[in-house]
């Protein structure tokens, strides 16, 4: 009896230790067992949520986990390697993806063209009936190659070609050309998709082939790299020094001249005044136009005055007569016949 009781008690204690596997819920949960998901649509008990948040949330999550596990155990079980395993059904809930949706691949040039023109791909048969060989020959692959070989056991040299050409070689080279072209186009498409600069012809410039500006820079630097900083180097007729950002700094002997110090306001004023003086001095002292116009002007004035004076003719004569009376200076030279006065200078006479 004791033992039984003891065992029962122990069992009970054990049971008390674990919570019951049955959980009562007001509303049933929604399950998605495939992704081990349960939705609890019941309202939260706000009172207990506020009073003891952690405990409440803990018990709630335990209960819901219990319900989910119950659901899992309802599924058929298997035993693999001593372990009980449940095969989950496919999940019903659509989960958001972690990574962004991959971008569509950029179209190749042909695809773009086909799209624009509305060309659709036609499905070709994998093999074709060959009339000559009287059998089905695949479009590509080693059987095709073999068939080709069988067919072309002899190739005629056309009339217009050099009779000594090896037609087989020619064909092979054509094939390699084709492959190469295809490869080039593939690379071009990739380059286009990745927005890589490629020249229209030739191969892209890489570090092993310098650009024109690089060459020019190198030349300029090289030229300046003498003991006298390139002062005595000859110049080509139209040679230009390399220019651009950062080039000036790498040319030897150039850095120091970089910036002239800003002049003080006074100095600047002096400079300006000097410059202005030189400009003003350069201007012709005698302005020909002005002189001519002044001359014309004077002439006009004179003429108009003459005109004015012409009218009162009486006055003119009068004036002249008067002038004659007062004019003592213009005496007729007497040519030595008159009295000589050595102290008086006579302007009209030549002295010997």
């Amino acid at each position: 009896m004791d033992i039984v009781n003891e065992i029962l008690e122990r069992e009970q204690k054990k049971a008390e230790k674990y919570k019951p596997i049955t959980v009562e819920k007001h509303l049933d949960l929604e399950f998605d067992v495939g992704s081990l998901l349960a939705f609890d649509t019941n309202d939260l008990d706000t009172k207990s949520l506020h009073s003891q948040k952690d405990v409440y949330l803990h018990t709630l999550s335990r209960d819901n986990a219990q319900l989910l596990l119950n659901k899992v155990w309802e599924l058929p079980t298997e035993r693999i390697d001593e372990a009980i395993v449940v095969r989950l059904p496919p999940p019903t809930t659509v989960l958001p993806r972690a990574k962004p949706v991959p971008k569509p691949k950029p179209l190749t040039k042909w695809q773009e063209f086909a799209k624009a023109k509305g060309i659709t791909k036609k499905k070709k048969d994998k093999s074709q009936w060959d009339e000559q060989l009287q059998k089905w020959v695949p479009l590509y692959g080693f059987r095709k190659a073999a068939a080709e070989k069988e067919k072309n056991w002899l190739i005629e040299v056309p009339q217009n070609v050099d009779p000594m050409t090896d037609m087989y070689e020619k064909k092979a080279s054509e094939k390699t050309e084709k492959v190469a072209k295809n490869e080039l186009q593939r690379l071009k498409n990739i380059a286009r998709a990745r927005k890589v600069k490629i020249p229209r012809v030739g191969i892209p410039i890489t570090s092993d082939k310098a650009s024109a500006t690089q060459l020019a820079t190198a030349a300029t630097v090289a030229k300046a790299s003498t003991a006298s900083l390139g002062k005595f180097q000859d110049k080509l007729p139209k040679e230009k020094e390399a220019r651009g950002k950062g080039i000036h700094e790498i040319i030897p002997g150039k850095e120091r001249k970089r910036k002239a110090p800003l002049p003080t306001p006074q100095a600047e004023r002096e400079n300006n005044l000097n410059l202005l003086d030189s400009i003003l001095n350069k201007r012709p002292k005698i302005d020909m136009d002005r002189a001519v116009s002044k001359y014309i002007h004077d002439e006009q004035v004179q003429r108009s005055e003459e005109k004015k004076n012409l009218k009162p003719s009486k006055g003119r004569f009068k004036g002249k007569g008067k002038g004659n009376v007062t004019n003592f200076s213009a005496k007729k030279p007497k040519a030595g016949r008159g009295q000589r006065n050595p102290s008086k200078k006579n302007p009209g006479r030549k002295r010997r």
């Binding site: 690379l187 990739i190 380059a191 990745r194 927005k195 890589v196 600069k197 490629i198 892209p204 890489t206 570090s207």
Partner: protein
């Protein structure tokens, strides 16, 4: 040999083209080869310019076309609907007076006449209304003043008829017809009608004549009916509160106006005139709705306005906001004198007068035969077109010669050039504007007006203290909602809401703080900041200034203008600092200029109170200044206590209370928080 056994069939080999072919990996490109990832080719500078020009041209063309169309329509319309144009302004003058005094009796009949005229407008589609109004306003510019002068002589009627006439046929020689018409209209109304007829039937189709006749008859009928109704109303005398249906059914504007007036009357003597069982609230709500309908404001703005003004004043304000203010010009004292300019302009056929005793440079233009913005005098920079209200902040700033002055929001440079003119081109003037396009206008105006001492720059005003500080005076004409200049830009009526206002005053606060920071308190002549807006909302004015008072070491000083109304100290739940009385407000209805606000602040210390300070020299200065504003500090502390109720930023408010440092003036050693104490202690040790 044979096929390979498939030991793990779980692993699937991918199917697809080239299953067997070894796929080549994509090539690796060198870094230098990869282009930058800009798909769109950038336009070059020139291309951009060209595109901008093209777009501009296009819009201009479209606008022109639109205008042309409208003009055409107007011409077509004018023949039919001559009256609606002047109905607006005619009603205004009266309704303001209509109910202020007891002379309802003799004013009412006229009102009827107006209402008759009003009718066609309400019928006409709203599309033309705008253009009509435009035409109207232009008309008014020209006619306003002579009209007012004649006011005393003739009746109101002839004034409007006069303007009307000019509206109709502007090109005909105005004076002759105008005077003759005037004579005719001065006689009684019967003659007037016959006159009208004579004028009209020169070139009218018979159908038009018939139409005119019919209209006249209708008018007469309506007039009679109105008279009857008015009689009834007069007898009734008490305004009956409209029922629900009445409210819901849309009524004519005329009825709304009538109702507005009635409600205003009721509200003016509420206890005796109210209907039993109706609260004041109901009446004000009704008024609000009616005003919104009549003046086409949105409800929010109207509500705000109602809180600012008492009802009677509100009506005046609304009416005044409908009419454009007279054009004013400011003489450029750098280039000419007012008398010379007035003489020159009069010679060009401009009718003008001094703006008032308060300004020595302002001139009001009543009418002009030449475009006032394109005369040789204008181009030579002898004057600038500027609203009268724009003189005020500069006069308040009172710049002195040889000072360094900042105008923070200068475009288009009217006020800034005024400052330069007062300084007589000495000192240094910084004109800043945040909008790069608008700085071009400053450049143009400055060069035109011969301002040579200015630096024009383009910064966000808020960053300006980082650029340069130490100005003697700072003018901040802050960007605002423009509620003071509704007449200029009627879109304000409907577009502004709480968010806009909030955005505005937040910006204004930051700008004002920046402006204060730019100013130098130690300046011997200045240390003044003038804050102005063209808004009348206290949120953008007093509140902003109040905010700055709390956060910087500034105090308000008298503005120096002997007119204008005092700023608010209380507004709704806000209690501002009592010194805000020193600010000045200007309203369109009382001062006949745009609504405006001007506040003048004096900075008394360069210390910025809020953040932690580490400049010792400023601290010492602070101490020195302590004594000076002591009384002020007391006031401030009192007010802080008052401000408990302030809703906005309650946390900051708390800060203020706990941290008396906000105003270093009343801070004493004991109250200083620990952070602050350290440097001071060091000081004392030294």
């Amino acid at each position: 040999m044979g096929r390979k056994a498939k030991f793990d069939d779980e692993k699937k080999v991918k199917k697809g083209p080239g299953r067997k072919a070894r796929k080549q990996a994509d090539p690796i490109f060198k870094k230098g080869l990869i282009e930058e990832d800009n798909d769109i080719k950038k336009l070059s500078h020139r291309q951009k310019q060209r595109a901008a020009r093209r777009a501009k041209k296009k819009t201009e063309l479209a606008e022109k076309r639109k205008l042309l169309k409208q003009a055409k329509k107007n011409v077509a319309k004018q023949k039919e609907v001559v009256h609606p144009d002047n109905s607006d302004d005619s009603s205004e003058d009266e309704e303001v007076q209509g109910f202020t005094d007891d002379n309802k009796e003799w004013l009412k009949p006229k009102q009827k006449g107006k209402s008759v005229q009003k009718e066609p407008e309400t019928e006409s589609d709203s599309g033309h209304e705008g253009s009509d109004a435009k035409g109207d306003s232009i008309d008014e510019d020209e006619i306003d003043k002579p009209g007012n002068e004649k006011y005393k002589l003739g009746t109101l009627d002839d004034l409007f008829k006069d303007s009307d006439e000019e509206n109709g046929d502007v090109d005909s020689d105005d004076e002759a017809t105008g005077s003759s018409n005037k004579l005719a209209y001065n006689s009684d109304s019967e003659e007037e009608k016959s006159d009208d007829d004579d004028d009209g039937d020169d070139d009218m189709l018979p159908i038009e004549k018939a139409n005119l006749k019919l209209k006249k008859k209708q008018k007469l009928d309506k007039k009679l009916a109105d008279e009857e109704m008015q009689l009834n109303i007069a007898k009734q005398d008490v305004f009956a509160f409209p029922s629900e249906e009445e409210l819901q059914n849309p009524t004519s504007l005329q009825d709304v106006l009538q109702r507005i007036k009635d409600v205003v009357v009721v509200l003016s003597d509420f206890s005796s005139l109210k209907e039993d069982g109706r609260s004041r609230c109901e009446y004000t709500d009704l008024l609000l709705k009616d005003l919104c309908v009549y003046y086409s404001y949105n409800e929010f703005l109207m509500e705000v306005l109602m809180q600012i003004f008492p009802v009677q004043e509100l009506m005046e304000f609304l009416e005044a906001s409908e009419v454009a203010r007279p054009v004013t010009i400011r003489t450029n004292s750098l280039k000419t004198r007012r008398r010379d300019l007035a003489q020159a302009l009069i010679n060009r056929g401009v009718n003008l007068d001094p703006v008032g005793k308060w300004s020595k440079v302002g001139l009001v233009v009543y009418s002009s035969t030449v475009p006032i913005g394109a005369t040789p005098e204008y181009l030579a920079g002898h004057y600038i077109l500027q609203g009268a209200s724009s003189f005020l902040p500069v006069m308040a700033l009172a710049p002195q010669e040889n000072e360094r002055i900042l105008d923070m929001c200068a475009a288009p440079g009217g006020k800034a050039s005024h400052i330069a003119a007062i300084m007589k081109n000495t000192g240094a003037l910084f004109a800043n504007d945040a909008n790069k396009d608008r700085t071009k206008a400053i450049v143009g105006n400055f060069h035109r007006l011969g301002v040579v001492n200015a630096v024009i720059c383009n910064y966000d005003g808020r960053q300006f203290p980082d650029v340069i500080k130490g100005f003697d005076r700072v003018l901040l004409d802050a960007p605002c909602t423009g509620t003071g200049v509704i007449a200029k830009d009627p879109s304000v009526k409907t577009t502004k809401d709480q968010k806009d206002i909030q955005r505005c005053f937040n910006l204004q606060r930051q700008l004002l703080l920046a402006a204060i920071d730019c100013c130098n308190a130690k300046s011997s002549t200045g240390g003044y900041i003038v804050y102005s807006t063209c808004s009348i909302l206290p949120e953008e004015n007093e509140w902003v200034v109040n905010y700055a008072l709390k956060r910087r070491n500034v105090k308000l000083v008298p503005v120096g203008l002997d007119f204008g109304t005092e700023g608010f100290v209380k507004y709704r739940h806000h209690r501002f600092h009592p010194s805000l009385k020193l600010t000045r407000r200007f309203y369109p209805h009382t001062h006949n200029m745009d609504g405006f606000f001007v506040a003048k602040l004096k900075k008394f210390s360069n210390v910025i109170p809020e953040p932690v300070k580490d400049e010792d020299d400023e601290e010492t200065e602070n101490k020195e200044k302590d004594e000076q504003p002591k009384e002020k500090a007391e006031e401030q502390s009192k007010e802080n206590a008052d401000k408990k109720s302030e809703v906005e930023e309650p946390k900051k408010q708390k800060n203020i209370k706990s941290n008396p440092l906000k105003r270093p003036a009343n801070s004493s050693e004991t109250q200083l928080p620990k952070k602050k104490k350290k440097p001071r202690k060091q000081k004392t040790k030294k």
